[in-house]
Symmetry: C2
Subunit: 233 residues, 2 copies
């Protein structure tokens, strides 16, 4: 057992509330280490970017008399570490809370109030639906940003110096922690693999329109994207 | 012949310098319309995002006694139209100037001075190399941003409301003019098709690492991207 697990097991002894905020791949190990020291009637939540199967696994591990409710505050950036801490990080941010049929209603209310007290807009969602949605709007974009930078690396890394603001914005999230995103990617595997496939279909379509110099088709695909993206402005 | 061509033919009569700044697909038509009215010893340049074959085509069309030198100032945003004009747009921006063996040295010096007078950092580059580089750092990212938004559209357009700042940044350039990018895409076709292929290889690699739950491999690919992207910070 790693040092941080021993520390966690020790420091949760007196806690009424435990918030897991390490890479999602460490949650099971952490909870396992804390099993015997968690206080009766205490509450455990997390800030992980995946829920789905992870929530079931956490529920299976949580000891009798302790309650787990999953959370995912949509806040933060590509930066990691205490130097980037912000007191107002959750102010106005969306926070998804993912109770299940096994969840205690009182515990759920407490977790919702916690996030609301930080200024977040709380939304209840099924853990599996959460993972389907965030695969599309967050996990795939991260994977894509990494893949795009690697494509430039494969072509000629020196080309990077010619990048303008478009490239910088498109790949900003490729600055994110590889360890963190490795865990997220692995825990939302099925959704992500299906979406990579769907993305490649769109890329194949564009490649074939370009090869055939189908100006109308290209403009139609670009316009479809532009009008949906406009709704986010 | 379109109205804007007639207007261009008329308004270039007295001009010592003509700057083409419409979608690149219209340049040939415009230059063709201006052929008989361009002043002797006048200079033509452009602000198009593709050079390569376009420059050869412009050189072939330019009338005797008039000189063409291609330019590509790396500035601007996803916005279009006069409402987004900025007096300091080129201040500190890079500007690629692409003379060829057919270019007049005096004309080249004048075009370089023009951009320098706007505050741009001018760099001379071969037109074909320009298109190879900008396919990687600009044209592919645009195509990818459009493809990513379309992938969300194919999954469920309602999911878009859950997007955070990562998705917004990654797809900002999908707000760009479809007409403008249709033309750029078509004029840099060969480079772009080859790069889509290379990007798909990277996506295939990631999909297979994810399917095989190869945590080390995933982290290695993400870290490769992160460290190259860090150089741009």
């Amino acid at each position: 057992i790693d040092d941080y697990c021993l520390e966690a097991a020790d420091s949760c002894k007196e806690a009424d509330l435990v918030i897991l905020a390490s890479p999602v791949g460490s949650f099971k190990k952490l909870l396992y280490s804390m099993r015997d020291t968690l206080k009766q009637n205490s509450l455990v939540t997390d800030v992980g970017s995946v829920k789905g199967r992870l929530v079931s696994e956490m529920e299976a591990l949580i000891p009798e008399g302790v309650r787990f409710i999953g959370s995912h505050p949509i806040a933060g950036s590509d930066s990691s570490g205490i130097a980037h801490a912000r007191a107002d990080l959750f102010e106005g941010a969306r926070c998804i809370v993912t109770p299940t049929s096994r969840s205690d209603e009182n515990a759920q209310r407490k977790i919702m109030s916690l996030w609301e007290s930080f200024g977040a807009r709380v939304e209840i969602m099924d853990p599996m639906l959460h993972d389907e949605i965030y695969a599309a709007v967050s996990h795939l974009p991260h994977l894509l940003a990494y893949a795009l930078v690697n494509t430039v690396d494969d072509s000629n890394p020196e080309y990077l110096q010619y990048a303008g603001s478009g490239f910088k914005d498109t790949t900003r999230i490729a600055l994110s922690s590889p360890e963190l995103w490795r865990d997220i990617t692995l825990m939302n595997r099925e959704n992500l693999v299906a979406l990579i496939d769907r993305l490649e279909s769109n890329l194949d379509l564009m490649a074939s329109l370009i090869k055939n110099a189908d100006a109308e088709g290209i403009e139609r695909e670009f316009s479809r994207a532009q009008s949906l993206r406009n709704k986010l402005k």
